[in-house]
Subunit: 122 residues, 2 copies
Amino acid sequence: MVTNMGRKLIENHNECPITHSMNIIGNKWTSIIVYVLANRKLRFGELAIRIDKISRKVLSNQLKEMELRGIVNRESYAETPPRVEYSLTKKGEDLLPILKQLCAWSKGIDLESGDESDCSTP
Amino acid sequence: MVTNMGRKLIENHNECPITHSMNIIGNKWTSIIVYVLANRKLRFGELAIRIDKISRKVLSNQLKEMELRGIVNRESYAETPPRVEYSLTKKGEDLLPILKQLCAWSKGIDLESGDESDCSTP
DNA sequence: TAAAGTAGTAACCAAATGGTAACTAATATG
DNA sequence: CATATTAGTTACCATTTGGTTACTACTTTA
């Protein structure tokens, strides 16, 4: 993955579409963030609470990357204490049904006994 | 990801379905292997040639992991020189349409000028 | 006898990714 | 004045993942 944070994302545009897809969603958090943000707007701190075990640094980096890619929307209000709200863009919403299929597909892999306990996402 | 090669795959079955999905396909090669194997049976060496830049070690590890997960099928013939053929299982085939959607979705992200040059996969 | 061809494996190393703890700025409240 | 609150950032470190090189075993062919 090309994750040169702070600067622009520089992608190799000759790469294969699968590699490209994986560069975008093939990491530990991106698709979880998309799921948590489904149908709602959340503040940075709320995201940090809802997504179990993510560090604020990584959350911050991911959100920045996703904003650059047009997956999430960032609205910042000049208040004190600061308020920043994140939501999905159209592109982000479009990913949801695909993620659902992926979850359905992966269900059952490596699982004899299906224990569907809770987590941050459906 | 829990990739303790050689032994069994031990997954945390309480994890969220998205994390689970990403543990399976969220790496550099798995979905590329699935794509390359679409509609055909290939030998180890053919896979190594068709998949640009993959090392034989990593290919070997991935295939082993995918076999354990029931995504690929391995048929080994006791000849000399040895012949081993890999193909997709039903589970593997089922992933293809999802990957296609993912590619369609990611097309256009980070791309102003759409250069659709070749790669190992459609 | 020597080389070629296949499917790996082992030891070792490099790069990418993720995590921790401490810190900042700005203002309101007690 | 001290403290709380929020959204981060910085410097540093740990883990995970991927890559390189050399090597094996077995048999056929030159």
